[in-house]
Amino acid sequence: MNVKKQFKDGLITNNPVLVQLLGMCSTMAITTSLFNGIGMGISVLVILTCCNVVISAMRKVIPNDIRIAVFVVIIAGFVTIVDYVLKAYIPALSESLGVFIPLIVVNCIIIGRAEAFAAKNSVAASALDGIFQGLGYTVVLCVMCIIRELLGKGTFGGGILNGGDGIALFGSNFQGAMILTMPFGGFLTLGCLIALMQYALRKSKEKKAKEEDK
């Protein structure tokens, strides 16, 4: 088991959103305030870890032909639990994420990791994979939220800091580009982030190739 490699995989080299291009609907839809981003990220992290552990523990029992159906039932169970816990304890979050909490069932990250990792690896490795992939997802969500909020409204930490309004970094008279908080901004910000990631990965590959030449 290689914890360090799994950590790097989840956050950078095999990031679920920026490299594997999974779970993009929720990434674009809910990233309008930091509160949403952190809440959604942690919900997915918890569900992903639980599902990975259960699926990995049952991987020898599940018949191969109906494995997807079994995965979906397990995932739907955990999603329902998280949905009801959020409704009970953090109703504000549940309200602002709305339909996207139950939609975690069809979030490709979870079923993708179940199929690609948990169904083939030990319980401990799958749990770590869940945590790191979940962290990678959360980090991307937070970056998206920070960019869109800062440029769109000129605030930081909306929903959490300063009584929910967020801290106005450019003074209260700042006129933000409101358009970035609308659907247009979601597509554009994610597109630019993925482009940045591709640029970084290409540069690091070129650097490695150069070192090998020497």
Binding site: C25, A29, G77, Y84, F184, G191, L196, Y199
Partner: protein, 202 residues
């Protein structure tokens, strides 16, 4: 509001104002994955429309008569099973559509290929069913919302595929190769669809 009025406003909302892709971000995966050619985009859009309409109708009935306590024939509150039931109904429905198409229209079946089973994990389908419950639509309204939502998806994916066929020949920075340029294109289309926001019949 009369039935006809509500149907009209639901349809207009689902197709243009609150388009599933450009304003609610539901169903982005097949939207981006399945839109490199206009032909496949049309096939995918039609299949999704069909499944969305059928799923809305069936799930609406199940929700009213089995899951919700007040109207249930069993008299028990089973609404905590909503997500689980809906996803299983959709999975079964997609399987059924797949078998039907294989027998009845083999040419469309082979054209859709891998994308057909993937409709199960299309968040637009589960999304429309959940939104029906959230907006407490009745049976007719749910079905209309499902079908028109699917038509909105069809419109979006066909428009996007046509633009994408042209983008292939354009020049753009190397880092934007593949997905990023698609997302930027989609953002511009979303901008166009923003023009519909605030439109109302009454």
């Amino acid at each position: 509001m009369g039935l006809l009025t509500s149907i009209l406003s639901i349809s207009l909302g689902a197709i243009l104002i609150n388009n599933f892709i450009f304003s609610q971000f539901l169903g982005c995966c097949p939207f981006l994955g399945c839109s490199s050619k206009v032909d496949t985009a049309v096939g995918m859009g039609l299949a999704v429309t069909f499944v969305m309409g059928l799923a809305s109708a069936i799930c609406s009935l199940i929700n009213t008569y089995i899951l919700v306590a007040e109207t249930s024939i069993f008299g028990v509150d089973l609404s905590f099973l909503q997500t689980l039931t809906f996803i299983l109904v959709i999975a079964a429905l997609v399987q059924f559509v797949e078998m039907f198409l294989k027998k009845a229209i083999p040419s469309l079946y082979s054209a859709l290929g891998i994308y057909l089973p993937l409709i199960t994990t299309n968040c637009a389908v589960l999304g429309v069913v959940l939104l029906n419950v959230q907006n407490s639509y009745n049976f007719i309204e749910s079905t209309v919302y499902g079908i028109t939502g699917g038509l909105g998806f069809l419109l979006a994916i066909v428009l996007f595929a046509s633009v994408r066929e042209r983008v292939q020949f354009a020049e753009y920075p190397e880092s934007f190769e593949g997905f990023p340029i698609c997302l930027v294109t989609a953002s511009l289309l979303a901008l166009a669809f923003m023009g519909f926001s605030g439109m109302k019949i009454f």
